[in-house]
């Protein structure tokens, strides 16, 4: 009853405001707008956004798909554009180097996600204990995330320097193995980029996990205490299910970001040694803006888009199931 009365008073107020606005609206505008339905007015308001969305997102996407079926080269404006059918796609999918780049990308994405989730969750559980100085340490841990990936890539090349870099020095304090060439070694280079990405982006996973942990009501743990649940049971049956949506969201965001990782890897390894760390986006940039094979690179971009979009959709469905 109380709710109803407050609703009606709110309606009355809104109506009064609407009347005042209607009175203040110039007659010419009223005449023009009078003929429009609510839906039309709604469209009128959102049309600039839709136009922008079409212009800067949808049109380039459709244009890229079109270019992927042509031999277009952006550095040859006078050359006629020829329709080549699926030739670019056939070349791409039949090129074993492309599969190598995709493999390098998958290795990078999978391992960064696994390591960052484990460390990020651990840090979040630690910070959530609210010890003295927790806020200070949270800020310290978040600092790498605030840096530019290009800057991070550049200064890690110095840290990785086999003779003068601190990375090799620290490892040699524990195991005497001599200078470690992280960037020049085929075996170590993929891990060199995983380590840097983990250093930079684990705080992001930690932050989202922390948000999840802080949203768990205390009474659940109190009830578990009464049931004599041990620490592991509390974590497994309360903490993990409750923070799982947050964790999955973090993995989704980071997974998409890492799938298109470019700047940090370019600065660190330039895709080398050989093509060991040439992730898909680096090769895409080489094809599009160094070789100027616009049609071919558009086809590659479409393949990457469909892959990310497809995997993303499957993942979001899984996320929704977890939420339910």
């Amino acid at each position: 009853m109380t709710d109803q009365s407050s609703d009606s008073s709110a309606d009355g107020l809104t109506g009064q405001v609407a009347q005042n606005v209607a009175k203040a609206t110039p007659a010419a505008v009223v005449r023009k707008v009078r003929g429009l339905s609510d839906r039309a007015i709604a469209w009128l308001f959102i049309s600039p956004t839709i136009f922008l969305l079409l212009a800067i997102n949808i049109f380039p996407l459709i244009w890229t798909v079109y270019l992927s079926f042509t031999n277009y080269r952006a550095n040859r404006p006078g050359r006629p554009i020829e329709w080549v059918g699926t030739r670019n796609y056939e070349r791409l999918l039949g090129n074993e180097d492309i599969w190598g780049y995709l493999q390098a990308t998958a290795h990078f994405v999978v391992w960064t996600m696994i390591i960052q989730v484990i460390i990020g969750l651990g840090l979040a559980l630690l910070i959530n204990r609210n010890f003295k100085g927790a806020s200070f340490w949270t800020t310290v841990i978040l600092i790498p995330m605030m840096l530019s990936p290009a800057v991070v890539g550049t200064f890690w090349t110095y840290l990785y320097q086999p003779q003068t870099g601190i990375f090799s020095y620290i490892i040699n304090l524990f195991v005497s193995v001599g200078p470690i060439d992280m960037i020049g070694s085929v075996d170590l280079a993929p891990w060199s980029i995983i380590i840097v990405d983990t250093w930079m982006w684990t705080p992001y996973i930690m932050l989202l996990c922390l948000a999840g942990l802080r949203s768990i009501p205390d009474y659940l743990y109190e009830a578990a205490e009464i049931d004599r649940a041990n620490a592991w049971q509390k974590f497994w049956y309360i903490t993990l299910p409750r923070i799982m949506p947050f964790l999955m969201l973090a993995v989704l965001f980071r997974g998409i970001e890492n799938f298109k990782m470019f700047d940090m890897v370019v600065e660190l390894t330039s895709g080398g040694p050989g093509s060991t760390t040439e992730v898909a986006s680096i090769n895409l940039k080489r094809e599009a803006f160094e070789k100027w094979r616009t049609g071919y690179s558009s086809a590659f971009a479409v393949i990457l888009f469909v892959t990310v979009f497809g995997l993303g959709n499957i993942y979001v469905k899984a996320l929704n199931k977890v939420k339910q």
């Binding site: 952006a74 960037i183 020049g184 390894t269 330039s270 895709g271 040694p273 060991t276």
Partner: protein, 444 residues
């Protein structure tokens, strides 16, 4: 009313003053040129030289110097987008095919004829490499501006140490001297690798291994040219099988990899000019390959300059040959100040300007400079520069050079640094890549 009149007069005066200032500014802007090049020592010398041009003509010179790592990306994109940033561009020799074909550069034949600038006044190798397209035809798109080739620098003071010389001779059976071929380069590299000199661990060689732009290709080709490498059948253009992947080419590539494996400092897996310079100047390596353009700086360096360093031309293995560097200066077709830019070219082509250009540290290509009998004595590396320019060989200068270059970067880095596959496989794949590029371009 009087107050209003005063305000009006003040406003009118201000407007006049502002208009006058803007006109002056516009005129000043009209009398200035922007020259684009890479950010390195010779660019500073050119900026110094440009002051004479300003004094002579009243045209102010602005410079857009971009680090080598971004040089090609930055300026090729500028040309492709029809940008007006550069009035004059000192672009890489390999760009000339594309820039001529796609109309980025102004053709200079008529201008040369009108102004009496003769290409005979410049070293034939530099005219061929920096100015002409199609290659070898009298169609000129640039004036040779900066001659350059890949050479070598060594620690003369280390080579002079009697105990090292003795040990070296006992081990390799020849003197520790400037290497006469690539085998001797390797001997020297191995000898110095990991050696203690003055209490510091040093290494053998600084060679090019860079992946991103053109580094490893420039390094590898300096070996391949010495083994007699040819890009194509001299009688049948674009016929590459049996040439690009010839037994000599394979042997040279294998040799280059052996140098990388035996004799480079740890972490030298992505090194180009600056990395080699750093390794050499910090006393880390006994020898380095680098462009002659850097040699004046090395000769003057506080730590390794003077008598501490010696220079030599790329050693021959089967033939004497060096990888070509250097650039020509072109007028950008999209510039609004083409006349002034041509005026600069006319000034730069003068014999006395070219002499000053060499004295400031730029590598002139003018015969008045190079054919001067005293030229070899003007710098410790001058004689070797002349020798190198006699046998230079350049990478493809085709409009598709960037694709050709990227393919080679990948194939040779994959083999030399990453150690994937064999040299034969790397060059076989390169033939396939290059064939595809030429097929797409309608050349095959």
């Amino acid at each position: 009313m009087r107050r209003f009149g005063a305000c009006l007069a003040a406003a009118a005066l201000s407007v006049t003053a502002v208009t006058a200032m803007s006109t002056q500014e516009v005129q000043a802007q009209d009398k200035e040129l922007t020259l684009c090049w890479a950010a390195w020592d010779p660019a500073n010398a050119l900026a110094q030289l440009g002051k004479d041009f300003t004094a002579e003509t009243g045209i102010e010179m602005n410079y857009e110097f971009v680090p080598w790592t971004n040089f090609a990306d930055r300026f090729i994109n500028e040309l492709n987008s029809g940008g007006k940033l550069c009035d004059l561009l000192i672009g890489d020799s390999q760009w000339i095919g594309g820039s001529a074909t796609y109309g980025h550069y102004v053709k200079l034949n008529d201008f040369f004829e009108k102004e009496g600038i003769s290409m005979d006044d410049f070293a034939p190798a530099t005219v061929h490499a920096y100015s002409t397209w199609p290659k070898g035809t009298p169609n000129y798109w640039a004036l040779p501006a900066m001659g350059d080739a890949l050479g070598w620098v060594y620690r003369k003071d280390w080579f002079a140490r009697p105990e090292l010389r003795e040990e070296f001779k006992a081990k390799y059976g020849h003197e520790l001297e400037v290497p006469k071929n690539w085998n001797e380069v390797k001997n020297i590299g191995e000898f110095f690798q990991g050696r203690e000199i003055d209490g510091k661990t040093v290494y053998g060689l600084g060679i090019y291994t860079e992946r991103g732009s053109e580094g490893i290709t420039m390094g590898v080709t300096s070996a391949m040219y010495s083994w007699g490498f040819e890009y194509e059948n001299p009688d049948k253009p674009y016929d590459m099988p049996g040439y690009v992947n010839s037994p000599e080419a394979v042997e040279a590539l294998e040799f280059y990899k052996s140098l990388y494996d035996c004799c480079t400092p740890p972490g030298h897996s992505d090194a180009y000019m600056v990395a080699n310079l750093d390794a050499y100047k910090s006393g880390q390596v006994a020898m380095q390959m680098n462009w002659f353009a850097f040699f004046p700086g090395i000769a003057k360096d506080e730590d390794v300059g003077g008598d501490k360093s010696g220079f030599f031309v790329n050693p021959a293995q089967k033939v004497a040959a060096s990888t070509l560097g250097g650039q020509g200066i072109s007028v950008v077709a999209y510039s609004d100040k083409k006349d002034m830019a041509l005026e600069y070219i006319k000034w730069f082509a003068k014999s006395d300007v070219q002499k000053k250009w060499w004295s400031l540290g730029g590598y002139s290509c003018h015969v008045d400079v190079l054919n001067d009998p005293n030229f070899p004595n003007t710098a410790p590396f001058a004689g070797d520069f002349l020798k190198a320019m006699d046998g230079v060989k350049d990478f493809w200068q085709e409009p598709t050079y960037a694709e050709l270059l990227q393919a080679m970067q990948k194939r040779v880095h994959d083999y030399v640094v990453a150690g994937n596959g064999t040299a034969q496989e790397a060059l076989d794949k390169l033939v396939v890549d290059w064939t595809e590029v030429f097929e797409d371009d309608g050349k095959l």
